[in-house]
């Protein structure tokens, strides 16, 4: 009987977080530790003619200064996801750049000093001669004739081309449609802005020749692999990677960054540990950004609202060099998901991945699916508008129905993947009912009579998460060339206290709580008896880390499977202790007993003790209750739902006020509603932020103009509405717990809900679209241009 799963269990991590006792990277102090500061290029595109470090080297407190030449024997960082044949023209950063930079913020020298102040101050004394080159920051302009060329191996700055679906069929279907609507959408560049900046500490033991690297990473095992086998050329067994407490990431801490191998090598060169942590400004200019798509689409429909075809062309800005999985985001996670929750018989998407003189772009919460959802959910609203139909009705008419699953969208998910399960209409109806849709339309009419502009926006999304089946991502040419299974180890110690280790990683998700809830219920022990440990390559089984909403749908399933095997062994040992036949005993709620005689039971604690002391085990049984499971999911999972936003637009000032925000999400069974609500609310916040506030702006010379929190508009609590969150529950057939994942859903659904609401509010002005962010200026200007 489930006691913990489904309960609003308070997070076990929180006491240490709110009492200041959590240990973040910046809290780690090693004896003799030195501090590094990186000199970063102020130019977005330049040749490095010379670097003179002599003055900086002589300053008090400075131990050493290094340039790219000192790391020339290391390989450039690898790019793991090779969609679109990127292998031919991948350009990735080096630990420090040697002769050329392609965006501001690339590292070109490092000062190592006794303290951080000396290191930072010394940067000003390094003399660099640059030859500044022409720049391009816009992905579409970068592909045009005459644009500055960033890399010799990428003509017209095209890093990759990728397509999905059927071009001829889509063109024919568009030709046969009653209406075809064309629109250009910008999905602006965002900066993830985790609360804790990135950092790393390297340490080296000359006796064992082993490196230890602490880092702010979502995937320490993957970092170890990439640093050792790909960059440094040493056995991965010679390095231990640890992530201490990580203070948020949103994808930006999945990737390998130059500073991580750098601190390892510096520690080895200098014989002392070396710490580097970025400033907020470095975080803005030298950590990855997200989104940055320019998209043209054509959607075809019949008069009754049936969508016939969708044709999409997207220019995805990937930045000056490629980050670890950059090419995978605007392809498999974007183009393949453009069909959304709808049966669109013909779909074609062409993607150009483009180099520009801007920071690297890679996964940011939702990674590709927010961009896809934005296109399809805006397209559906435009169809409704064109045909003068209710947007809810157009959604109903085109939804994939429960009996259609497994459903393969025309966008082609690759390798036989298909949407797993869904009741899209149920989630929509629930949301419409909760919001009082019909009443709102009445209220909207009345408000317009009074010169007030209310609007309602729907967003019915489906996403792909629980990444990923290795047969999907492992395929060379399309995937990562690596599996994406996950691991768990369960160890029931002599007293019955249990330690769980996972290859997943928690950086705010509360995994130490949710994973313990699952183990407590399955094993039938109190949650206080369980410790969940993660993020240390030495003491956890190899795993791929946390991103793509995979830690519940993949990591926790590995754990679940491991507990089942522990239970089976405990049942056999219990039978032996009860002197009963194995077939006659059952494991239930932490007890093993003969069916029908629960009063004569052996507890899991007794059995764990017997397994550890081991003087009387059944023939052939190994001592100890210890099991490691590796779970490779047969499919991804596909959470879905409907979000509804109600806004009021002040047409005099252009200010948008969110009056209500309501979500109905379906992530299958919810392990912990408290944590799921937190995930949804945080996700919605980031989507609202994209819709209304955030925009990473570059000037034409590649200078980031929003490189501080004074200029980059992170919303505060006062900018956000009260969230009304609820769920429907449609289990996934993919895994035994039916779990789908909830980490990114809020971000994926919310931006189009807000934009659809604002456009709905302004429909009396004939406004069809406004580019995000919908700042007062953008909205006011759209109203003026529409000519009241």
């Amino acid at each position: 009987m489930a006691k913990y799963v489904g309960a609003r269990q308070k997070r076990v991590e929180d006491p240490r977080l709110i009492t200041g006792n959590a240990r973040y990277l910046e809290d780690v102090q090693l004896p003799g530790m030195l501090h590094a500061a990186v000199l970063r290029s102020p130019y977005a595109h330049a040749r490095i003619d010379s670097i003179d470090t002599s003055a900086a080297s002589r300053l008090p407190g400075v131990v050493a200064v290094f340039t790219g030449q000192d790391f020339a024997d290391l390989n450039p960082l690898p790019c793991a996801w090779q969609a679109g044949g990127v292998t031919n023209n991948a350009n990735t950063p080096r630990v420090l750049e040697i002769d050329k930079v392609t965006h501001t913020g690339m590292g070109i020298a490092v000062v190592v000093a006794e303290d951080r102040y000396a290191a930072e101050d010394a940067l000003a004394h390094i003399e660099v001669a640059y030859s500044v080159l022409p720049t391009v920051v816009d992905a579409k302009k970068a592909t045009e004739a005459g644009a500055p060329q960033l890399h010799e191996n990428a003509p017209d700055n095209i890093c990759m081309t990728w397509e999905c679906g059927d071009q001829d069929g889509t063109d024919r279907a568009l030709g046969a449609s009653d209406v075809v609507i064309r629109e250009h959408l910008t999905n602006q560049r965002l900066i993830p802005t985790a609360m804790e900046p990135r950092g790393a500490i390297g340490s080296y033991d000359p006796g064992t020749e082993e490196y230890t690297v602490w880092m702010t990473s979502q995937a320490p095992h993957v970092m170890r692999l990439l640093m050792t086998a790909f960059v440094m050329g040493i056995p991965e067994t010679k390095m231990r990677c640890l992530s201490p407490q990580v203070g948020g990431a949103f994808g930006s801490k999945i990737f390998l960054y130059p500073e991580y191998p750098m601190v390892a090598v510096l520690a080895q060169k200098l014989g002392r540990p070396v710490k580097w942590t970025e400033s907020r400004q470095e975080n803005y200019i030298a950590t990855t950004h997200g989104r940055d798509h320019q998209t043209d689409f054509e959607v075809g429909a019949l008069r009754d609202g049936t969508i016939t075809a969708l044709k999409v062309t997207t220019y995805a800005n990937l930045g000056g060099t490629l980050s670890t999985i950059a090419p995978g985001i605007p392809t498999s996670l974007y183009g393949s998901m453009l069909s959304g929750t709808y049966k669109i018989p013909h779909l074609h998407c062409q993607v150009y991945g483009v180099y520009t003189n801007t920071a690297m772009v890679d996964a940011y919460r939702g990674a590709g699916r927010p961009e896809a959802t934005f296109v399809i959910e805006r397209a559906v609203d435009l169809v409704a508008r064109e045909l003068n139909l209710d947007p809810a009705e157009v959604r109903r008419k085109n939804f994939i129905q429960p009996e259609d699953f497994p459903y393969e969208p025309a966008s082609n998910l690759l390798n036989g993947l298909a949407y797993d399960s869904g009741e899209y209409e149920k989630a929509l109806e629930r949301a419409l009912e909760q919001v009082g849709y019909r009443e709102f339309r009445q209220e909207q009419q009345e408000a317009r009579q009074q010169g007030r502009y209310l609007g309602i926006g729907l967003s019915s999304y489906v996403e792909i998460c629980g990444v990923a089946p290795s047969k999907w991502v492992g395929l060379p040419g399309e995937g990562w060339g690596a599996g994406l299974w996950e691991s768990a180890n369960v160890r029931v110690h002599l007293t019955g206290k249990t330690v769980v280790t996972t290859g997943s990683q928690s950086h705010g998700q509360g995994l130490e709580t949710t994973m313990a809830q699952v183990v407590a219920d399955e094993l039938g022990i109190p949650i206080e008896d369980i410790e969940v440990k993660h993020s240390d390559t030495m003491s956890t089984p190899f795993g791929y880390g946390t991103y793509g909403s995979r830690s519940a749908a993949v990591g926790t399933i590995a754990l679940y499977n491991s507990v089942q095997r522990i239970k089976e062994k405990a049942r056999k040992l219990g039978a032996h202790m009860l002197e009963a036949s194995e077939e006659d005993v059952v494991y239930q709620d932490g007890n093993v007993f003969v069916k029908g005689s629960p009063e004569q039971a052996k507890t899991i604690q007794e059995i764990a003790g017997a397994a550890a002391v081991a003087y009387d085990l059944p023939a052939g049984m190994e001592p100890f209750l210890d099991d490691t499971a590796y779970y490779d999911p047969p499919n991804c999972t596909y959470p879905f739902g409907t979000h509804i936003c109600i806004v009021e637009v002040d047409t005099d000032t252009g200010r948008v006020e969110i009056k209500r925000y309501l979500s109905v999400d379906d992530c299958g069974p919810v392990i912990n509603p408290l944590i799921a609500d937190g995930q949804v609310q945080g996700g919605i916040t980031q989507g609202i932020a994209q819709a209304l506030y955030e925009f990473a702006a570059y000037d034409d010379s590649g200078q980031l103009l929003t490189a501080s929190m004074m200029d980059y508009a992170i919303p505060k609590a006062e900018h956000l509405p009260h969230f009304e969150n609820s769920h429907t529950v449609t289990p996934s057939p993919v895994n035994p717990m039916g779990i789908k994942g909830i980490g990114e859903a809020g971000t994926i659904a919310s931006a189009p809900a807000v934009v659809n609401a604002v456009v709905d509010a302004l429909s009396p002005f004939g406004i069809r679209d406004i580019n995000m962010p919908l700042t007062p200026q953008a909205v006011w200007r759209a109203i003026q241009e529409a000519g009241r």
Binding site: P42, Y43, A44, T104, L123, A124, V132, Q281, Y284, I285, D699, S701, Q703, L704, L705, A707, S708, M710, D711
Partner: protein, 143 residues
């Protein structure tokens, strides 16, 4: 970014032109100058200590008069950099005599980089106006 403005100097145009081409006068009038020397005619090297909002630091650079039409107009090419970032600009200056006075107008589109651009950009046109004001006030005193 655009920097432009005009100031009236209480002196005839020829006198103002003379002042604008005198390295010693320039060194005295330019705010924050700690060192300035004419390497050759019309080519100056300078070290400046400036603070622009949260961005403070030492800048080294040079200024070259690339086009000179005495006494009515000149074009300057400026390049400077320091730890807080860099500036590259082409500036145009015109001198018009109005009675006994001269109206000096300037305009240019500086390209800035580094922390100066990232953190100081919003403040820069205001600071540039202020520094120009200080320069021309001192120039007026010299006249």
């Amino acid at each position: 970014m655009k920097v432009e403005g005009s100031h009236t100097i209480p002196a005839p145009r020829e006198r103002v032109w003379e002042l604008l081409n005198d390295p010693d006068v320039l060194a005295r009038c330019t705010p924050g100058v700690s060192k300035m020397e004419a390497e050759r005619e019309g080519f100056y090297r300078a070290t400046l200590q400036l603070s622009i909002g949260p961005v403070k630091g030492r800048f080294e650079g040079h200024m070259e008069v690339t086009d000179s039409r005495e006494p009515e107009a000149m074009t300057l090419t400026i390049e400077g950099s320091g730890a807080p970032g860099g500036v590259r600009a082409v500036g145009h200056i015109t001198l018009e005599q109005e009675g006994e006075q001269t109206v000096v107008s300037y305009h240019g589109q500086p390209q800035i980089s580094g922390r100066l651009a990232a953190v100081g950009a919003r403040l820069l046109s205001g600071v540039a106006k202020k520094l120009a004001g200080q320069f021309f006030n001192r120039l007026s005193e010299e006249s």
